[in-house]
């Protein structure tokens, strides 16, 4: 099948200046799949949960076209749990608690049905596991997109760079790009990171938008100015899920189509932050999405005719 997603399916407990939640459903693969469901009819995921993971959450995922054959359920163990508190600026957060649980011994197993996928999304996980997934596939996907985070840069930079060298698109935030490259300038950082192997680099800047680089081109997508960012959890995964979902559906991996994919990813992320966790994403309609994409167009659209350029 076309789209394969690796990543966590988890519980989150979140506190923001607007309120706090008990344990709610989260995880990279969850957000990625929900976003991708606006484009592809079926998403295969490889992940793991414990016996405590609610059946209705699995039904919700199925209703969004997620195939659960690759979701390992360990009845006697507990689901991965993360708890965090966002600061007033919503750009920084403190981790209050991380319970790896099932994730501690997770070994991604690719069902035979999932072989031959054309689009592979590696959600944030240990770069060793991400690489194992690539190596478990009998044929290399047409496009591999990888997310990661500063944590892996702190503890296993060499492993991380090895995995990065095997993917087509790396998606990280601005601080991670700086840490990975040792360059403050994002333009210089992009050059160094592309030299590690990926053909494309996405640098996410949160409320300041996102940049897409290849060796010759750069594209900038704004974030929609919002009255409030209610909960940023999952926004980066939602962005990535919209990005790869759009590419998988259109089957076009040109730079100009990636620009469109980034606009769709940005539009989806702008919904994600409107409510806690997956709340806004679960019932988001395609019509709402198209309307918001239209807002992105009018946000950046201008008309200059240059005679001399």
């Amino acid at each position: 099948m076309s789209l394969l997603v690796i990543g966590t399916v988890a519980f989150d407990a979140i506190e923001t200046p607007f309120g706090k939640t008990d344990k709610i459903v989260g995880g990279a693969a969850t957000f990625i799949s929900l976003a991708a469901s606006h484009f592809v009819k079926k998403t295969n995921i490889v992940s793991v949960v414990g016996g405590d993971f609610p059946k209705d959450a699995m039904e919700m995922l199925k209703a969004h076209g997620v195939d659960l054959e690759g979701l390992e359920i360990r009845e006697n163990e507990k689901t991965f749990f993360w708890s965090g508190k966002y600061h007033n600026d919503m750009n920084s957060r403190d981790t209050i608690d991380t319970q790896l649980n099932v994730l501690e011994t997770f070994e991604p197993k690719i069902p035979a049905n999932y072989q031959g996928c054309e689009f592979l999304m590696l959600g944030n996980l240990s770069p060793v596991l991400q690489r194992q997934v690539i190596e478990s596939l009998h044929t290399r996907p047409k496009l591999i997109v990888m997310d990661t985070m500063n944590f892996w840069m702190d503890i296993m930079m060499d492993e991380l760079k090895r995995t990065i060298s095997m993917v087509d698109v790396l998606s990280i935030n601005d601080e991670e790009a700086r840490q990975l490259s040792g360059e403050y300038s994002l333009v210089k950082a992009a050059q160094k990171i592309l030299a590690l192997g990926p053909k494309y680099l996405i640098i996410k800047k949160g409320e300041h938008g996102a940049l897409l680089f290849d060796k010759e081109n750069v594209f900038f997508a704004p974030a929609l100015p919002l009255e409030d960012v209610f909960d940023p959890t999952g926004a980066g995964d939602t962005f990535a899920g919209g990005f790869i979902g759009y590419l998988a559906e259109t089957r076009d991996i040109s730079f100009s189509n990636m620009k469109r994919a980034i606009i769709y990813g940005s539009a989806l992320a702008s919904f994600c932050v409107e409510k806690f966790g997956t709340e806004r994403m679960v019932n988001l309609s395609d019509a709402e999405l198209e309307k918001r994409v239209h807002e992105f167009i009018s946000l950046v659209q201008f008309d200059i005719s240059l005679v001399d350029a």
Copy 2:
């Protein structure tokens, strides 16, 4: 005449991670006029300098179409001097020294020739002086653009709000918008600031671009991703000068033309930061500017056809 600029003509001494300068020519009116010179043939400025201000700097301004009748020269006094040091991230700076000198007793005097201007740029100065200028004009300009800074919010918020209520466009940075409105969200901040009187608000976000708001619309212009920001001094003034210069030349103050003006202002600012002080601006050609505007177009241009929107 068409464009009148009020603001400082000054000396700066600047230290950045890339180097430091002795006293060099700076000041808001200087940067504004140099930027505007790419659009208008003549810029009238009202400002003050001391006898120490170099004759060749005045010749340089004249060569860029700046009329100096409104530049008061106090032979026995010294020119306003500011010295500052930028931190590594280039977004924050410490003021090392401020010597008001001639500025301490400055009272803007509008030459008779300058009456009837259609476009007025109020560079950053005491809001009391800015208001005096508006009140000294016999006919209200077609468009008044005002810059200011956090300093005036700290010490004379009421005076500042009074002046803001008299202008058409306010141009400030994101932190200033938050301080002025008491809102963290820039969307909410914009609503509150527009309620003070201006029809348009520009929020400058440095390396993250700029937003233009009116009560119904929002436009986002990116900043060009640069390898290095060498010296940010004057970038905001250069942006404002490009903005009002473009509007004065095209004589069109519609929202869609303001979007173009912001792209030109952003393009000019992207040059300003490439060298110390006015160095890059003094010899910048129109062809270089057009080429860079083209880079802005390709930076944000994407093509999505929405059937449902």
